[in-house]
């Protein structure tokens, strides 16, 4: 049902835990595009080979947004490793995002 709206990118795990993300976007609005780019860049730099991103377009798949209680776009959910993390916004503040995802030490 969601094949149209999801695109999966998978890289083989290579050391460390695999990070599974779900990114909710609204079509190609600018915040969503930025979030996509920011997440991709971040994964390339910090999670090479050990990330999994599922992108859900809420405009095409509102049901999944509802199930995951996603009200704003973009929303990034870190599914694995636990605990879950919920990030709202275009992910422009890299340090902030990395801290929230526990990829760097505490916030500054």
């Amino acid at each position: 049902m969601t094949s149209r709206s999801r695109e999966k990118r998978r890289t083989a795990p290579a050391g460390g835990k695999t990070y599974a993300f779900q990114l909710f976007v609204a079509g190609n609005e600018s915040n969503s595009t930025q979030a996509r780019d920011n997440l991709a860049r971040l994964c390339r730099e910090y999670l090479t080979g050990r990330h999994e991103i599922t992108i859900v377009d809420v405009l095409k798949d509102a049901a999944t947004a509802y199930t995951h209680h996603v009200l704003v776009t973009p929303t990034l959910i870190l599914i694995k490793p636990l605990p879950k993390v919920l990030l709202l916004g275009n992910l422009s503040d890299t340090r902030h995002v990395l801290a929230a995802l526990r990829l760097i030490g505490g916030k500054q």
């Binding site: 405009l59 009200l71 704003v72 929303t75």
Partner: protein
Amino acid sequence: MARPTRRVHEQEEAGLRKKRKRISKIPTGIVGLDKVLDGGLPAERMTLVGGGPGSGKSIIGLQWLLAGADTGEPGILVLFEERVASVRQNASGLGWDLAQLEQKGLLCLLDARISPEAVVSGDFSIKGLLAIIGQKAKAMRARRIVIDAVDALLYLYDSPMRERHELYTLHEWLLDQKLTTMMTVKTVPQEESPRYAFLDFMADCVIHVDQRVTQQITTRRLRVVKYRGSGYGRNEYPFVISQDGINVIPITSNVLQHRPLGSKVSSGQAGLDVVLAGGFRRGASTLILGIAGSGKTTLACIFAQAAGRRGERVLYLNFEESAESMVGNMLSPGLALGPLIKRGTLVVRSYLPEAMGVEEHLFHALKALDELQPQHVVVDAISACKRMGSEQAAFEYLMRLLNDCRERGITCFYLNQATSLDIVAEISGIGISSIIDTVVLLRYLQVGHAMKRQLLVMKSRGSKHSDLFHEFHITDRGIELEKT
């Protein structure tokens, strides 16, 4: 005389209605509010309901959705602040079974609370929410939606510009979807916030509700601030939240629809009937004025007894004593009220004036008129009504009650306790004397070593009456007038 005037009024009304035809409206399901809104909320537009915490705005929204569900029209309630479960629970306190409506697909409670653990990084929009609402509305065929506590969403934005932009997007989207929307927003009284000013400009209809405490008594008020393309009641209207939801009490309708006074009806006392040239007129309002112990209650109860014998019902609103103590006290002048109460021809409702605000008193009184359909009403005593809050509160209560009795053709007796022997100065009776048809004055007079009781009919609209002071006695057979 009366007929042509009325016809003119009807023509004017019809003319106004024709002009207002352009806007299609959806009733709120709250009778009084629909009157104030001249029919209801603007269809396919947005209405804003603003008010402080506990002011009743969410209940107004829910009641509107339930009114829709009643007619088979589904609705969505988007909750930005309250939990779905607690809304269900609170509603059940008002006798509303939301879960059942949800199962039938007539209602959807949408939890739109943003997780407090969410981390914000960069800009975002509420497109997700709109997508969810859109999908739900389509699936349910919902045409009405309530967005509760939109302010909770706005707190996520730290810039007023972004806030406005999102609200604007939301508004545009709702209009595009042709949904009729009610949006509630918390306002802080006495604080001009640009956020709400903006919302007021955006919405087509704006309603403000508040809850205030005057002299230790809480009252609720509702006011329509604007309504694009429609007329509306421009005053502040009291409302109550009772067991069955919101009840708005518009103080006055535009047109007086009083019924003309009816035939004479006996006062229950032969001598007084002579003085009144046959008795009181049906549908008339009578003020009985006198100091404590002058016989006001006795006079009213004699009337009630006579009415009961004719098979007519009297509603006795007592602000001075309980039904039991009234029945006991009236045994002395030989009145047996117990059997009348048992038969239901006399219904005594005793209230402590300060127990509730004026609108709640009104609500109970008007509900009693609806339920009991009495021919006569006694208010004992209007002087105690000041304890509902203020002289103004008492005036509102008495005017509205009198107005309703007038429209229904109910005979009304207002007992007023004077505080001095110079009671003529107190005749006004909280400023309502001009709409009173008959005034009966009871007084004491010192004659030699004795106090004599005297009765005077000061005015009796539409009827002949004696203009003499009549001496009377209260005996164990009621009131007896001395022959003059």
